[in-house]
């Protein structure tokens, strides 16, 4: 039984295989439209995340399968005090595969031990969100044609942004990848990411507070939101907030082949005026997320096409 709890569980070969399946789905969606007929996906969302849940549901419907589940814990047996283990074991009797979102870190791992069917982590608190990383990887692959020889800028809240941490881990396995980590002092990448991932693998990186100074070097700019509540004082927030807003003016210094990514939802960190720029990829990322979730469901259900 295979599950996807943490992106690190997938080898480079696994990721390559998922990418190839996703590319084949994009090429010929009709070929895949009935392959999960009579299979059921349970979406167990103990906290609301409409975007991720709809992506999983759309993925399963496009494979010809069915979906059941709940979208918040109030409407589940968790509200009555049932354990994650028991919920997973029960739902495993009804569904062929489970996608679980939970506010507590590690809940999908607990579920995977008793469910009896594959469990996909659809986000566990601020911990892991592997299918977002799969969406990011397919986007990079489609935009750049490869994962090698890329300079990746990560900008915004790099301290609490789990998508950035997972992306750094996933991309650090490829050749000649460099990182430019752009954030306010308060929101720098945690030390363990630098020591355990970047330095352990000998990956070059620089840290900077300036987006303007670095944007011209990048192949990819991965934007995240700088949230007001992350700052110790209001004055620092007000001083810095506009530094990390991407505007058409800042993009003038960027390369023509830059790809701008964002895990969404966006608040104001990318100006709406950037949306029409051909370098904006964040809505493509949403679509790519659905294709990668389709590929993942097929892999975990061991459906061959």
């Amino acid at each position: 039984m295979r599950h996807l709890i943490d992106i690190q569980q997938l080898s480079q070969e696994d990721i390559q295989q998922l990418i190839e399946t996703a590319m084949d789905i994009i090429e010929d969606p009709v070929k895949y439209s009935e392959v999960c007929r009579h299979k059921k996906l349970a979406t167990l969302f103990f906290e609301p995340s409409t975007r991720t849940r709809l992506s999983f549901e759309a993925a399963m419907y496009e494979l010809g399968g069915d979906v059941l589940g709940f979208s918040e814990s109030n409407s589940s047996s968790a509200a009555k005090g049932e354990s994650v283990s028991d919920t997973a074991r029960t739902v495993g009797c009804y569904a062929d595969i489970i996608a679980m979102r939970h506010p507590k870190e590690g809940a999908p791992l607990v579920a995977s031990r008793t469910a009896g069917v594959p469990v996909i982590n659809a986000g566990d608190g601020g911990h892991n969100h592997p299918t977002q990383t799969l969406a990011d990887l397919l986007t990079i692959y489609r935009e750049k044609g490869s994962f090698n020889n890329l300079t990746i800028g990560c900008c915004g809240d790099l301290k609490f942004g789990r998508t950035v941490h997972s992306l750094i881990s996933a991309m650090s396995r490829y050749d000649n990848v460099k990182f430019v980590l752009i954030s306010p002092e308060e929101l720098k990448v945690p030390k363990y990411i630098k020591t355990d991932v970047l330095e352990a693998k000998g990956i070059p990186y620089i840290e900077s507070v300036s987006l303007e100074e670095n944007i011209g070097k990048l192949d990819i700019l991965y934007m995240t939101r700088v949230q007001r509540e992350r700052f110790f004082n209001e004055a620092d927030y007000l001083r810095l907030k506009d530094s990390y807003v991407l505007t058409p003016e800042k993009l003038k210094a960027a390369r023509e082949d830059l790809s701008v990514m964002h895990p969404l939802p966006r608040v104001n960190e990318i100006s709406v005026a950037v949306d029409d720029d051909p370098r904006a990829c964040y809505f493509k990322q949403v679509l790519n997320g659905k294709y990668m979730r389709m590929a993942l469901i097929l892999k975990l259900l061991e459906v061959t096409v």
Partner: protein, 141 residues
């Protein structure tokens, strides 16, 4: 100070000085009804000072617990007054129900029946991480 030799039993040697009482407690030695000697701050050529525990009975020891608490310990198993086996401990890959995860966002904070499991993430720096939330537990000592 003279403490007699044991015929059948276990000698835990090279315990970090001052740690023997903690190990005594964690191994549940107070529940045994055999002779037990705890020697603290004994002179040691290798360590300067060390603790030693002599147990007058061969018991099952959880080497993972011992290795986590004090990986420098040597376990000598004595049978018929002779050294039958010597084990040098190392940090275990995984420890269960020894460390408690302190991350309030971890699933173990709300589901009390879950076992507390930690994996060795970095042997050199003796760093263990919760298998559920990856929070770091600092090695004691």
């Amino acid at each position: 100070m003279i403490i007699g030799q044991i015929k059948d039993g276990i000698v835990l040697d090279h315990i970090t000085a001052g740690k023997s009482l903690e190990i005594y407690e964690v191994l549940g030695l107070d529940k045994l009804d055999c002779t037990i000697a705890t020697i603290q701050y004994a002179e040691s050529k290798k360590m300067g000072r060390k603790d030693i525990i002599k147990i007058g009975q061969v018991i099952d020891i959880n080497f993972d617990v011992l290795g986590y608490l004090d990986p420098g310990i040597t376990v000598n198993i004595i049978r018929d007054g002779k050294l039958a086996k010597r084990e040098r401990l190392t940090l275990p890959e995984r420890v269960t129900d020894i460390i408690k995860c302190k991350n309030p966002r971890c699933i173990t904070s709300v589901e009390q029946e879950l076992r507390q499991e930690f994996r060795l993430a970095d042997r050199e720096r003796k760093i263990y991480r919760c298998i559920y939330c990856d929070s770091e537990a600092k090695k004691q000592s």
